[in-house]
């Protein structure tokens, strides 16, 4: 665990006044506030550091303790016992941000010196709605093809969710009321689950349409015939037209991906033919090809 220089984090001198600290905090908070930097984990981390620095330096008692023992934080516990320090959280408006995404932990350094307590982190006297939680769920393309139920464990609570077929890669769904508990009888926050859907080795997806490439032997491509291919909904028999060109595409209507939250609606499957030229020809085959080429 390393020493954390709170003065450096806020970009101020050790002689900074309370006014300087407040001004530095405000300036940086505006820059790194999570609500101003959506989906930016670096900004959220910076913001937590700024909050932590402000929590210590804006409180005269904490600042005094930090200045005295900061670099020698290992002995902070002794200091704690000796003075029977009681943490008194500042309740002044604006002391620190309490927004939805500020649930990040204090550093180990802070915990060691001040014994971080979530209940005392709140700057505002009243908090109405609980915090929102964010989670990420990884699925493969086959999982996302069918509606399924999953049980997630969020902060010790099991939550059963239904994931509708057709969910998109990168899509976020909201599970209302499964975030942090509300305060003063307020509603709970929400749980936001972002889905990451892994690519399938053979089938690509774009929206509700699927794309795949299948090998087609030269003879079937030239003369026509039948071909059985694998799709996400099972095997499909294709009729191959004679003289099918390499790279040509066909569309299988309704054989694509399910449309999100629309029963019995599906996209299309596009199949591209990759005509495979035979190799290791026998003498007889070479002879026949030569004959054909002279016709």
């Amino acid at each position: 665990m390393d020493f954390v220089d709170y003065y450096k984090i806020l970009g101020i001198e050790k002689t900074a006044t309370a006014k300087d600290i407040k001004a530095a905090y405000r300036k940086l908070a505006r820059k790194y506030h999570p609500d101003l930097n959506p989906n930016n984990k670096d900004a959220t981390k910076s913001f937590q550091q700024i909050n932590e620095a402000n929590e210590v330096l804006s409180d005269p008692e904490k600042r005094k303790k930090y200045d005295e023992y900061g670099k020698d934080w290992q002995h902070a516990d002794q200091f704690e016992n000796a003075k029977q320090y009681q943490e008194q959280s500042s309740n002044q408006r604006g002391a620190r941000y309490t927004g939805a995404q500020s649930e990040g932990d204090f550093s180990d350094f802070f915990e060691s010196m001040f014994g971080g307590s979530a209940g005392n982190r709140r700057g505002r006297q009243a908090k109405y709605r609980g915090e929102d939680y964010n989670a990420e769920l990884h699925l493969n393309l086959i999982d996302a093809f069918k509606t399924q139920k999953q049980t997630l464990n969020v902060n010790g609570h099991n939550i059963r969710i239904t994931i509708p077929a057709g969910i998109e890669n990168g899509q976020t769904i909201k599970v209302t009321g499964h975030g942090g508990e509300g305060v003063n009888g307020g509603p709970n926050g929400d749980l936001y689950i972002k889905f990451t859907i892994a690519n399938h080795p053979k089938i690509k997806r774009l929206g509700n349409n699927l794309y795949t490439t299948v090998d087609l032997d030269l003879y079937t491509a030239v003369l026509g015939g039948e071909l059985i291919i694998d799709t996400l909904s099972g095997k499909v028999k294709l009729k191959v037209k004679p003289e099918t060109q390499n790279g040509s595409k066909i569309k299988l209507k309704g054989k694509g991906f399910p449309v999100y939250k629309q029963d019995d609606a599906f996209g299309d499957l596009y199949v591209t033919y990759n005509v495979v030229i035979p190799t290791n020809l026998t003498d007889k085959q070479k002879e026949l090809f030569t004959e054909i080429s002279k016709l």
Partner: protein, 96 residues
């Protein structure tokens, strides 16, 4: 009209220790929607998060209402761009 999905503005202001006039200013600027039921002002639960974000901006970061309007507009653009990036990434994966 049912009020189960609505939160009284009086209650919100009491809990957050803010003036009702602040909420009215937000409404006047079109930053939030207010529902009137029996002469009592409510906001929809779905808009609560947005309102709390605005309260944080105003009271904790000292950003004025004009600034908040601008931020809201830019955040909407950022979110739209995030959606577009996700869509383009999905499209790009077709060629990987």
């Amino acid at each position: 009209m049912q009020t189960e999905n609505l939160i009284s503005i009086d209650e919100f202001c009491t809990n957050h220790n803010i003036e009702i006039s602040f909420i009215s200013s937000l409404h006047d600027k079109g930053l939030i929607e207010i529902t009137l039921v029996n002469k009592t002002m409510f906001i929809n639960k779905d808009n609560l998060k947005q309102l709390e974000i605005i309260v944080h901006f105003y009271y904790e970061l000292d950003i004025n209402l004009e600034g908040i309007e601008t931020i809201n507009h830019l955040l909407q653009r950022i979110n739209a761009m995030h959606d577009e990036i996700t869509m383009l990434r999905n499209k790009l994966s077709l060629y990987e």
